[in-house]
Symmetry: C2
Amino acid sequence: MFKELNPLLHSELRLAVMSILIGVEEADFVYLREQTHATAGNLSVQIDKLQKAGYISVEKGFKGRMPRTVCRITDCGRDAFTEYVDALSGYIGR
Amino acid sequence: MFKELNPLLHSELRLAVMSILIGVEEADFVYLREQTHATAGNLSVQIDKLQKAGYISVEKGFKGRMPRTVCRITDCGRDAFTEYVDALSGYIGR
DNA sequence: AACATTTGGTTTATTTTATAAACTACTTTA
DNA sequence: TAAAGTAGTTTATAAAATAAACCAAATGTT
């Protein structure tokens, strides 16, 4: 009945980030911050965790002369997200 | 897009408890512990939080001579759960 | 040119949460 | 009557979320 919920994904902000990334080719730091209404500090920390888990790739470059951090979901991240949603269904009855 | 997730419900164990209680008339401590595979300590704490939030009612009585704690979901709890599931849908795309 | 402000972040510190371990009180069994 | 089990609670610790402070470079203001 109750499968374990991946604790890395069972976090409001990280889940929101993954939810965005699963639907787009890529998204940069500023876009993610705006969409999630998170503070930069919090977002920075959570992006780091997702990257370390291998769920997203993070590419730090420049847009003109300003820094720009671009994130993409990985295949591994996509799998983890799918599994999480599946597990969650057992809790919320879908 | 991203509604806030009620932090009281966005917890694996509390969510499991609510998930059980929403489907039954009542459930006692032991049943909840068995179904969720939680430790008694953890379950005790989380039940307390749900009760303090008004999401469940907790009735401590006896079954024969052994103590027995019975939990029931409240209307308020049912509403909160429904709202949580609705908000969650925005994250997992249902 | 000099200074303040904004941008795009990171690092550090604090609060909150989850969880386990230890404990209490009572009951049943040998 | 001693040992073990049941049903929990309380306390301590580890992990997580979040905010606040900070940094470096860019841009706007006088």
